[in-house]
């Protein structure tokens, strides 16, 4: 008797390939167009990191902010991971925060003059939100985050997932 392959027999390209196939079709919000702000020359830009990894600077590993965000002081390196999905490697971040949140790389780029400066604060949201309309993020927390970054003089945002 021929056995049908299971999903676990079919993950050529690694375990991630199986996960990616499962989320490729996840609904995304349609903005009906693509907004565009002209970036300043990189050597003049003040750059912030905004991650959707659910990182926290307060030692907690649970997320109660919904589509909101937490602020990460630029000096913070001891971050916990509140993302609840089991479907990604967690040891990379445990070994080197920069593999998700490259704050030391930004500092090096600023020191060498590649970028103008590094923001004093960075932001963390939680990805994989169950509400695909993302209404709170689009209408409330997202604009609030933008205002906070602009008040710090930021003009370029580097977005990282997990």
């Amino acid at each position: 008797m021929t056995q049908q392959p299971t999903e676990h027999d079919n993950h050529a390209g690694g375990s991630d390939a199986l996960v990616r196939r499962g989320v490729e079709g996840v609904e995304v919000f349609d903005f009906g167009g693509t907004a565009c702000t002209t970036a300043p020359p990189l050597a003049d830009a003040r750059v912030a990191i905004v991650t959707t990894a659910g990182l926290r600077p307060d030692g907690l590993a649970t997320w109660s902010q919904g589509q909101g965000f937490v602020v990460i002081d630029g000096d913070a390196r001891a971050l916990t991971l509140a993302h609840s999905s089991p479907n990604f490697d967690r040891t990379g971040l445990a070994m080197d925060v920069n593999v998700v949140y490259p704050v030391d790389r930004l500092a090096e780029l600023a020191a060498s003059g590649v970028i103008g400066s590094v923001a004093s604060k960075h932001l963390s949201f939680m990805g994989a939100q169950p509400d695909h309309t993302l209404a709170t993020l689009r209408l409330d927390s997202g604009p609030a985050a933008a205002a906070l970054l602009k008040a710090d003089g930021v003009d370029v945002v580097f977005l990282t997932p997990v």
């Binding site: 070994m95 933008a146 990282t160």
Partner: protein, 230 residues
């Protein structure tokens, strides 16, 4: 993440992001994205490799002058996870035969876990009060595999999932202390789920809880999709 890019660009901030799922990035049409086919959980590619991370960031920042949005460019290198090559590190010998092997094992790994925590000054084992609770959490899942109904262990469904994440974090952090090299992506995960007694318990518990029609948060976080079922 694409929605954040839209909101920020509308507010006058220029953005560039890393994509980890190409199909989503294509459909979301964010302004500027660099797709990196790297292990999920490692969007900059390689922990501890500053030069590689700088290559990724240079490729991303090179997209910033582009105004012909949406722009989606592939990074020129692919990294595949090593889930099929579990980390090789030793497990503690049995210490207390009166305990379930998974509970005894969790207690036996405490020294390695503490070495790791002392090195980094941080831990992700925080959802139930810290490492003192891990053996008890393992025992809770042992009881489920022994026949205790999932809804009789006095935890909300979402807390069952969080308990599994704490156990996994404890084991993976201990594994980083026991390993003699930087593990590739998912090697510690596969060590936990495929070679340890506690990993076996979680795999069995997930099958039992799911078969009992429990809410998704009670079973989904217990085992990654890519790990074989019990």
């Amino acid at each position: 993440m694409s929605a954040l890019a839209e909101v920020f660009e509308e507010a006058g901030l220029a953005t560039v992001g890393i994509s980890s799922v190409r199909g989503q990035a294509e459909r979301a049409r964010a302004p500027r994205m660099l797709h990196c086919e790297f292990p999920l959980g490692r969007p900059l590619g390689r922990p501890g490799d500053a030069a590689f991370q700088h290559r990724v960031m240079a490729a991303a920042f090179a997209l910033l002058p582009r105004t012909d949005v949406p722009v989606l460019v592939d990074f020129d290198e692919v990294i595949i996870d090593d889930a099929d090559q579990p980390l090789s590190c030793s497990l503690p010998p049995r210490h207390d035969p009166s305990l379930h092997p998974a509970v005894d094992e969790a207690i036996g790994l405490r020294a390695a876990y503490e070495r790791r925590r002392a090195t980094t000054g941080t831990t992700n084992v925080t959802r139930f009060g810290g490492p003192d609770q891990v053996a008890g959490l393992v025992d809770m899942f042992v009881r489920i595999t022994a026949g205790t109904p999932w809804d009789a262990v006095d935890l909300e469904p979402i807390r069952l999932g969080q308990a599994a994440l704490d156990i996994r974090a404890y084991y993976e952090e201990a594994a980083l202390a026991l390993a003699d090299h930087v593990p590739a992506a998912r090697q510690a995960e596969s060590w936990f789920y495929r070679t340890t007694a506690a990993g076996k318990v979680l795999r069995e518990a997930q099958g039992i809880i799911r078969a009992a029609d429990a809410p998704r948060p009670a079973w989904f976080p217990l085992v990654p999709t890519g790990q074989p079922p019990a």
